[in-house]
């Protein structure tokens, strides 16, 4: 299998070359081209076996709370030739690869998961009460197992090594590794104001690990743009 992220960083996409027998998974509707020998199967993965960890109706619903799609698309090759497929996000921005070594789990904030190799198990983790204040989705997607994960971002992606403590503004977290815990704290102003506006709250990460951030925050942009558009 060959996973290549396009050189264009602003409207990044991924090309995946699959050999016969290999499979791949992505959020639904992410595929934008495929050779004719690529098959799409769609499910919440309620089959037993390795995929069982990501499956079932409830898992699908929980993924919705994590800002992800209810269904996952799984790609395989129909004949004995290699095949190619292109995966693209809906919005503008970069894509990054995270290699999972089977030891460390990763968390993806809402909507940041794009695709992964099939041995990566997707689960969700409810963020607790703080999840309502962080400006991120209420649940995060938990990624475990062995393989490659592709995350998408609004804007550019940067990786930060956290030794002790690191602060990220809400809406800018893409993914983080499991050695980190975070709390939502205010940056300035009173608690009440911060709570109402969702502003002035930042995520304080503690521990050892890595955080991926995105340069831009689309929530503010969409909240400004949305009301300007004619109603449905």
């Amino acid at each position: 299998m060959n996973i290549t992220i396009s050189a264009d960083n602003t409207f990044a996409s991924v090309h995946v070359e699959l050999q016969p027998g290999e499979t791949f998974q992505s959020e639904s509707s992410a595929m934008y081209f495929a050779t004719s020998n690529v098959n799409i199967d769609v499910s919440t993965y309620s089959k037993s076996g390795k995929q069982g960890k990501s499956g079932g109706i409830m898992k699908g619903v929980k993924r919705l709370f994590a800002g992800e799609s209810f269904f996952l698309s799984k790609y395989s090759i129909l004949d004995d030739q290699p095949g190619m497929l292109g995966i693209a996000p809906e919005y503008q921005g970069a894509i990054e690869k995270i290699e999972l070594d089977g030891q460390t789990e990763w968390y993806c904030t809402g909507g940041s998961f794009l695709a992964a190799t099939s041995d990566v198990a997707l689960d969700t983790r409810f963020q607790g009460i703080k999840g309502f204040f962080t400006g991120e989705s209420i649940s995060f997607l938990k990624l475990g197992g062995h393989g490659t994960v592709l995350i998408e971002a609004y804007g550019q992606i940067e990786r930060h090594e956290v030794q002790d403590e690191f602060i990220v503004d809400t809406g800018h977290v893409v993914a983080y590794s499991e050695g980190l815990e975070y709390s939502a704290t205010k940056v300035a102003g009173g608690w009440f104001k911060s709570w109402l506006a969702g502003e002035g709250i930042v995520l304080r990460f503690r521990g050892t690990g890595y955080v991926y951030t995105q340069s831009h925050n689309y929530v503010g942009f969409l909240r400004t743009l949305g009301p300007m558009l004619p109603s449905r």
């Binding site: 509707s29 081209f33 004719s36 799409i40 698309s73 919005y91 503008q92 969409l222 743009l225």
Partner: protein
């Protein structure tokens, strides 16, 4: 982000889609033109197709004109030497004088292609410029290629396509892909890595 700056010698002409001009030297004249003439334009509009308004630029003295597409993305230059290229209706940007454009109805299937009902056939000798929303991805098709609706920008006429679902009923309804275009033949195809439809879907939860 792709856009064109065209330097014209005295007497030279250039054409772009209507409304694409972003800056103009005073020595370059701009005239509106309708591709295929007025009556055909009306007919196409009634038919629900495209009426292609063009801007014609004529340099009385040397001068420059800036041409910008409506979307953020790439601009590709295609050098025609008597060959033909098919453009989806939103992707045409500009062309030089000896290139012929004609609007082709895509057939009933094109109502579902997400590309608009008309294709623009460009032939002749000269340059044609087209643009994408997102990054431009060029692929060489050998036999067949499946492309998600809305992602096609241009293709060589040696390719033909049908509209279909991706696999069975379950896949078509739930894979999120909906309908796809299945291209057959050998030739080049140009794709874009984003669609305005997907952007609208992304925005929709935030609209009142």
């Amino acid at each position: 982000m792709g856009h064109l700056v065209v330097q014209l010698a005295p007497g030279e002409k250039f054409y772009s889609e209507g409304g694409a001009m972003s800056f103009l030297d005073p020595s370059v004249e701009i005239q509106p033109r309708l591709l295929g003439g007025f009556l055909k334009g009306i007919g196409r509009k009634l038919f629900g197709g495209e009426s292609l308004f063009l801007s014609e630029y004529t340099a009385t003295r040397a001068g420059k004109v800036g041409i910008a597409p409506g979307h953020l993305g790439a601009v590709e230059e295609c050098d025609l030497k008597g060959n033909t290229i098919m453009l989806t209706s939103g992707s045409y940007l500009a062309h030089t004088k000896a290139v012929n454009l004609s609007v082709r109805f895509g057939g009933l299937r094109s109502f579902f292609s997400g590309e608009g009902v008309c294709l623009i056939e460009c032939s002749g000798v000269g340059k044609v410029f087209f643009n994408t929303y997102g990054a431009m991805v060029c692929r060489e098709v050998r036999g067949a290629l499946t492309v998600d609706t809305g992602h096609v920008v241009a293709f060589e006429p040696t390719l033909d396509y049908t509209i279909g679902g991706m696999g069975g009923i379950k896949q078509t309804l739930f894979s999120g892909e909906g309908l796809v275009m299945k291209f057959r033949g050998n030739g080049k195809i140009w794709l874009q890595s984003r669609t305005v439809g997907a952007l609208a879907g992304w925005l929709r939860p935030y609209c009142r």
